[in-house]
């Protein structure tokens, strides 16, 4: 039971990460690697503020810092014309140094014994639940506004958005800022949840976010953006529960987490293509046998 509650909480907090990844990957249609850096950025900023006695302000600062990082990636893509994936890698790499320097040059930082948003409210589950759901609701509402719609349009058909006299460069930067702001918030909450910040925590975080988004879509279905945001959070919870049980029954050693995530994402992303290939093969076979029948009939 504690195991279940623990993975629920983690699932909800990482659900906010999944919301960020959903925004860039599904809505903007760009696999954004900035996330690996902005997650830790959120952790580091929050940790510093938390130690200074301002845990809530810390989370707000994390969102801003993440948004700034995302906007940087956006500017590299749109103003300096650097390939989108490379832009993310560049900012992520730069952030490594930034994150270290925020934590005073140390690779990790403990916030043990300080007030966090969880200790202030008293119930970890409640905080995680309220934050995850309200964030999803806010983002869902945002995507129904004009600006939100412009972002969705940019991911769908950029040329059309430009033709509608919308600055697609700006919508891209904005979407990347929002996505990374969410990711940093998730990082900040994780820092307060586990009471430390570690510069290596970002490695593979994109794949974990993607795995959550995809698990949600596969198990809960795809039905529009608002629903998609909730399935991303749902997917994150399911992902954590599965992982917790797999580790519990000693099915896998703890360090196998990332390989499992990688395989899940690979299977899910290749799924539609593999299905299509199999279908095409089946129909070719059918056609061949039909031709054979006709030949036999005629001959």
């Amino acid at each position: 039971m504690t195991l279940l509650i623990g993975s629920m909480e983690l699932g909800l907090i990482y659900g906010i990460l999944a919301l960020g990844v959903y925004t860039t990957f599904r809505i903007l249609n760009i696999p954004d690697l900035t996330v690996e850096g902005s997650f830790v950025l959120g952790m580091a900023v929050t940790a510093v503020f938390t130690v200074g006695g301002d845990p809530v302000l810390g989370l707000a600062a994390a969102i801003l810092a993440g948004a700034l990082a995302g906007a940087c990636t956006g500017l590299l893509q749109t103003k300096l014309m650097i390939n989108p994936i490379l832009s993310g890698i560049i900012v992520m790499t730069g952030l490594y140094t930034v994150n270290l320097s925020i934590m005073g040059g140390k690779a990790n930082m403990s916030i043990l014994g300080n007030d966090t948003i969880f200790t202030m409210v008293g119930s970890k589950t409640l905080v995680a639940l309220v934050l995850a759901i309200s964030t999803a609701a806010i983002i869902g509402t945002f995507f129904r506004t004009r600006v939100g719609l412009a972002i969705r349009g940019t991911g769908d058909n950029e040329e059309m958005v430009r033709a509608a006299s919308i600055d697609a460069d700006r919508t891209k930067c904005l979407a990347l800022a929002i996505g990374n702001g969410l990711v940093a918030l998730s990082g900040g909450l994780i820092a307060q949840y586990q009471l430390f910040s570690d510069v290596g925590s970002g490695a593979g975080i994109v794949v974990i976010g993607l795995a959550s988004v995809i698990i949600g879509e596969v198990l809960l279905g795809r039905r529009g953006v608002a629903y998609g945001l909730f399935t991303a959070v749902g997917g994150s919870i399911i992902y954590r529960v599965i992982i917790a049980f797999a580790l519990k029954v000693d099915l896998f050693p703890p360090y196998s987490l990332k390989l499992i995530s990688a395989v899940v994402v690979m299977l899910a992303l290749s799924g539609p293509y593999v299905k299509k290939v199999l279908r095409d093969k089946a129909s070719t076979r059918k056609r061949r046998s039909m031709v054979k029948h006709i030949k036999e009939y005629v001959g």
Partner: protein, 263 residues
């Protein structure tokens, strides 16, 4: 209204693949003109549109729309006064967004409704517009555009590029990818919207018959220039044969092939 002066545009300048696509093109349009453009493949028709839209930079020349010099402005700023429709029905709409969301994006700044993309008043307007198409789309406003047929998508795109009442409408073979029945339908809708809103329009087509009957003026392009410009009686009395003849007479090409003009 629209004044194009000495437009010159070169692709891949300074390489062996250098190609001069516009060679000092001049054209001026009056308000409400509906001009059809014909010309062989590679004459520079689409390039002209892209130059007006701001996709490509000019080497030289100026583009003036309604007294505003567009020449240095970025694409999305020019788009405010332009409606552009291309051949490919997939290009002009966002497939995962619904019909009403696509229209809302296009309506954008002209809408008076608050921060949300759709509101009751706008939706009512979209419904009216859609029912004027007579394709039954007014009952499918929540359908993602990707689920529509090519003709239906092109009709929605046509609404999208005219909904914000642009000063200039550019139609680049916008019926070429459709079957004859749908093509006719889209042309009818085009004529109706253009005359209703009295939008100044340029329409590229390879259908000479259509070029001579739709609109009020026809120009022929060849090798980056305008080589024929007819309106009024002269256009009334123009036939496909006479047009091809003058094409042969004026075209710079040595190997003259009528099919180039018609295909």
């Amino acid at each position: 209204m629209l004044k194009l002066e000495n437009l010159q545009l070169t692709f891949e300048k300074g390489t062996i693949g250098e190609k001069k696509a516009l060679k000092g093109l001049n054209l001026s349009l009056d308000k409400g003109d509906f001009v059809t453009i014909v010309g062989s493949n590679g004459a520079g028709k689409s390039t002209l549109f892209n130059a007006i839209g701001g996709r490509y930079r000019l080497d030289e020349g100026s583009i003036c729309l309604d007294g505003v010099d567009l020449t240095g402005l970025p694409e999305h700023t020019r788009a405010r006064d332009l409606g552009v429709l291309k051949q490919d029905p997939l290009k002009g709409t966002a497939p995962t967004l619904t019909i009403e969301e696509n229209l809302a994006l296009a309506y954008g700044r002209r809408s008076k409704g608050g921060i949300f993309a759709t509101n009751r008043k706008d939706l009512k307007y979209y419904r009216e517009l859609l029912s004027s198409l007579d394709l039954g789309l007014e009952d499918r406003m929540k359908t993602p555009v990707g689920k529509l047929s090519g003709g239906q998508r092109q009709a929605v795109t046509l609404l999208m590029c005219t909904i914000a009442s642009p000063k200039l409408l550019l139609l680049d073979e916008h019926t070429a990818a459709l079957d004859p029945v749908n093509a006719r339908k889209i042309i009818e809708i085009t004529q109706r919207i253009v005359s209703l809103k009295s939008i100044t329009t340029l329409m590229i087509t390879h259908d000479i018959q259509m070029a001579l009957t739709v609109g009020n003026r026809t120009i022929m392009m060849d090798d980056g220039r305008v080589i024929l410009d007819i309106a009024g009686d002269e256009r009334e009395n123009m036939t496909m044969e006479k047009l091809l003849e003058s094409y042969r007479a004026k075209s710079s090409r040595r190997l003259i092939d009528d099919r180039m003009l018609l295909s």
